[in-house]
């Protein structure tokens, strides 16, 4: 009885063969399924600083802070749940979900994105605001400062 059972177990193992994959994995070597949501990517040229992504992020990892004319949007991606809500609501399609899933790192900065945007300043209260009209938007594009994910 027991010998037969062990034999059956061995057959299951041999039939399966080797299923584990050698280590250097990645989206190219082992692509995830269609519609997979991996690490987010932010196109800083497209972002208008509306803060919509920060508002919906369930992990509350997108932080907005204003200093005079600059709006700083920070993404602390180590807490990301890859839900894709930010990409869904972004009016400018600035956020895309990539297929990157190998994110283990021992450097926090690898999972940090900082986006600094030049914005208009409200003459009354002095806070940043989103220039309303499309014309205004075109005007400020040239002033954008771009910093790579540091």
């Amino acid at each position: 009885m027991m010998f037969k059972s062990k034999l059956k177990e061995a057959i299951i193992c041999f039939k399966a063969g080797r299923v584990t994959m050698p280590f250097p994995l990645g989206p190219e070597l082992h692509p995830p399924g269609d519609g997979f949501r991996g690490k987010i990517e932010v196109d800083m040229e497209k972002c208008i600083g509306c803060g919509g992504c920060a508002n919906v992020c369930p992990a509350r990892l997108i932080e907005l802070s204003d200093s005079e004319t600059t709006r700083i949007i920070e993404y602390f991606l180590k807490r990301c749940t890859y839900c894709g809500r930010c990409a869904e609501v972004c009016p400018e399609d600035a956020i895309t979900m990539t297929r990157e899933y190998q994110l283990a790192t021992n450097d926090n900065n690898d999972l940090y994105i900082r986006n600094e945007l030049y914005m208009g300043t409200c003459g009354r209260c002095g806070r940043c605001f989103k220039p309303q009209s499309a014309l205004d938007k075109m005007m400020v594009t040239g002033f954008r400062q771009k910093t790579e994910g540091k």
Binding site: M2, S5, K8, I12, A16, V19, F36, R85
Partner: protein
């Protein structure tokens, strides 16, 4: 239990399910599918045959595993009569899910309080009277086959239609909602109190392990020490939500329990925000 062969093989059998989840929802585990009002993605017509194919394969392989381990004497010796949770104890300690059903308590919130589509997809309660590790294992084995049947029926009878309801207005503050759902480990209860700005004010979760964990002292009473881990694993605990931090100073023997605020501050400091 020291029987890694079966563990590894069952994980291999499970893997296609994870790939399916990835295709249907976009992720292996944190699906991010449910929103207030519905779900975010539909099951496409191309995915349906794929699901059925995976389910067929799993059923075949799963039955082969059940057939193989059934006669494994050492395995049975470690399961049978070990970790006994008597029917009366199971009732008194209010255990849920497969732990309860393994002790002959026929509860399953999918059947007792149907929600979602469980009015149409009616699962069969799998109950075992053995009250031991083996009974709890058998309940799980049988439920896997039952789940496969439910998936097949669900795919066949899935109606067409919108997957998300429009909610144009903000949800008013001060509303409450409570729901019991049957998770793989037992009843999961969520309580939500809505707050200002369309956000929840309070969210309380009672995961099934809270209830099942209480029964461990009676389950392991008078047992061999080596059998204790198996008995605890047999109800599939998830301890992470029951963790509290207690620091003992070895010199003075003083005990200090960290408060909620301190833990939050420490974790914020650690995660750099």
């Amino acid at each position: 239990m020291g029987f890694d062969t079966v563990l590894m093989q069952t994980w291999r059998i499970r893997e296609p399910v994870m790939w399916l989840c990835e295709q249907i929802t976009g992720n292996r585990k944190t699906y991010g599918m449910n929103l207030i009002g519905g779900v975010r993605r539909d099951i496409t017509s191309e995915q349906k045959p794929k699901i059925l194919e995976v389910v067929d394969r799993i059923e075949k392989e799963w039955l082969a595993v059940i057939d193989a381990i059934g006669g494994d004497t050492p395995l049975m010796m470690r399961l049978k009569g070990v970790g006994v949770l008597k029917h009366s104890d199971a009732v008194n300690y209010c255990v849920t899910g497969p732990t309860a059903r393994g002790s002959g308590v026929a509860i399953d919130s999918r059947v007792d309080h149907p929600y979602c589509a469980y009015d149409y997809l009616i699962p069969e309660k799998k109950v075992q009277e053995g009250c031991d590790n083996l009974a709890r294992t058998l309940v799980r084995l049988e439920e896997t086959i039952e789940s496969i049947r439910l998936v097949r029926q669900g795919i066949k009878e899935l109606p067409e239609g919108p997957i998300m309801a429009e909610i144009p207005e903000e949800i008013p503050p001060g509303r409450e909602g409570v729901r019991v759902v049957e998770a793989p480990r037992g009843e999961a209860i969520h309580y939500v109190l809505t707050g200002e700005n369309n956000r929840p004010y309070r969210w309380k979760v009672r995961a099934p392990t809270y209830m099942n964990l209480e029964s461990v002292p009676v389950m392991i009473q008078g047992m061999e020490l080596a059998d204790v881990p198996i008995a605890i694993a047999s109800y599939d605990p998830c301890f992470s939500c029951t963790e509290r931090l207690e620091v003992v100073d070895r010199k003075s023997g003083k005990i200090r329990v960290y408060t909620n605020e301190e833990l939050i501050t420490l974790s914020r400091k650690k995660s750099g925000r």
